[in-house]
Amino acid sequence: MAAVTGFDPKAEVHGDPIEIPTLACGAMANSKPFAAGPAHQAALGFPGELVEDWHDKAIFRLGELLENSRALRVYLDSCVKCGACTDKCHYFLGTGDPKNMPVARQDLLRKVYRRHFTWAGKVVPWLVGAEDLTKDVLADWYSYFHQCSQCRRCSVFCPYGIDTAEISMAARDIMDTIGMGQKYSNEIIGKVFSVGNNLGLPPKALKATLAGLEDEIEEETGVPVKLPLDVKGADVLLVTPSADFFASPHMEGLIGYAKVFHEAGVSWTLSTYASEAANFGMFVGSQENMKKVALRIRKAAQDLGVKRLVFGECGHAWRVAYSFLDTLAGPFDFLDPAYPVPQHICEFTNDLIEAGKLRFDKAANDSFRLTFHDSCNVARASRMGDAPGGQFEIPRAVLRATCNHFFDMAPETTREKTFCCGGGGGLLTDELMDVRAKGAQPRMRALQEVAEEHGVTHMAAICAICKAQFSKVLPMYGFDREAIVSVHQMVSNAILLTGSRQAEEYDARRKSAG
């Protein structure tokens, strides 16, 4: 049961992204996130520590979840142990720990479900793999349900569509209910409730940041592009992950959105009240908290009297926005029905590109040889545009319109088969660095392949978590820390704002050439 030692990312970066490891039982049993303290638990309505009657409470909660989720019921019943999913999880591929095989992860909950909710599990538990919920089982839950980024890759391959993400969410919800919360996610949800965003960035700081960005853009282009905050009556409310306000390469993306809005001549605003697109309520599997977080966006849209809702680059946030928002916080009948609710910033930009309303100097991005990381929550849990698969085509179309050099990674690692960055689902915290680094292996190998084959230097993404995770793991695997870029960073680099220095220079060059 020894932990895997000597994992050397720089050596692991070469190889087939989907190479199957030999089993390393118990390799990741010690990977556990920090526990949420009483204050963080209380803010979400959860008990501060493991409650006395935790066993009965947990079983009771499982029963409640079963009654309210057809997915959970059907998924727990239907698995035939065919093994189709066993080699599909990046955490299994990176760690070899069999409990990171999706079906084995599910079984951690399924065995308790069988014991308490099925006739066979009550009568012949040994035959059907039914087990009581013990402290050891609980420890396994805490460990392995926090080694699932809820990326849904397994659900693509399962003959019954069994989605381990749903199982992980349920297990985390049960753990929260009995007082075993995860610090990282619960602290963040608390900050959203108290301050308005994940980072706890107060309105004043936000205002200052945006003013700074405005200066930066004007200095660069000579055009007074605005980043408005809390402007009543603006057409568009932009909701974006708070990392866009201060981290790199997120901020460069935000600059890109601002330039696009400016060039389109669409009035827009950010909101201090809803200064966060992320909804970690999904990660912790709490429908109640997810709803509460989602309602902020409705309130902000109503208070500001906007007509449209646009979301910035964020994977799970787009899933919640696209798939759940209307259910959780709708109906949004007060918005302009001429536009989809909500819209993704990539859709917004791509529409303008298709309408010929944006001009680009693609050569401005010639130092980037790009590939694209399909963020899993966008890829497998949402859509862009009118046709299925638009979530793959539209970001690529934006990149192709703004860059001369674009190369896709191997097909078994992109689009619906994309690999998670390794940091999603509430795992983007330092104490989980080991599993994050190992989980990134398939993506890093795919990137290494295109780096060798096509000289790819950068990878674009449309997810704040992906960007943060890659900034950390890229150097471990021997890539440049800044090899991860925002899609709208590429837009920002290449866009020719009307009246800008860049546009003038570009036109002058064209004239003298022409």
């Binding site: 309505g45 019943d77 599909k88 849904r152 003959p159 019954y160 509460k292 798939s323 859509r383 299925p388």
Partner: protein, 243 residues
Amino acid sequence: MRSGIFAAVFYVASFVLAGGLAYRIRLYAKTPAALRIPTTPAPTTHAGVAVRLAGEVVLFQSLFKANKWTWAFGWVFHAAMLATLVQHLRYFLQPVPWPVVLEQPIGVLAGFPMAAGLFALWGRRFVVERIRYITGPSDHLMLALLVAITVSGLAMKYLAHTDIVALKTFFLGLMRLRVEPLPGDPVLLVHLSLVATLMVVFPFSKLLHAPGVFFSPSRNQPDDTRERRFVSRSALLKPASKA
């Protein structure tokens, strides 16, 4: 005596199978799908969803994406089982409808690929490390049961023939609530007992994947949240907030 016992067994088994499945299906149907969670890209219409589900049920599309060997073994087994079931309809229908008559030559041979598929699927459970890890006693037993049913069936067809006319009279009798004499060949009795066992086990086991595939939200929901508001019936979403 023998006929009486088997008649009782099949009445009970049919009742458990039908009742158990009906209960489970009702449970699935009435449990709310909390949110829209189709695995995307997904069809945007219900007609599209029907095509997607048909692809899963008839062709095992997702499994095909996952693993060609598992797909081949699994598909051959299921297709052969279907052919065998259709072939067996002749013991329950009088007159035998012409499609079933036409299907007989395929149906009687289907036992072989069915057995082959089962053995291949079983072999994986020993040979492939990952699959060995996730295999439990019930998985082996289920395969053993299916293999035993298939082999005993083949044995009757090709080795120890049984009185098929009498057998059919027995089952037609059961369907009219009459107990007719059942032939006493040991292989037949074993075959019938195992089938009855399978029927009883069905609603309590992983065989629930059969109805399950139709109720799986990641497969049976359209991707249409921006076009039509999805209203959840989940009680957990009812209170505006908790804290």
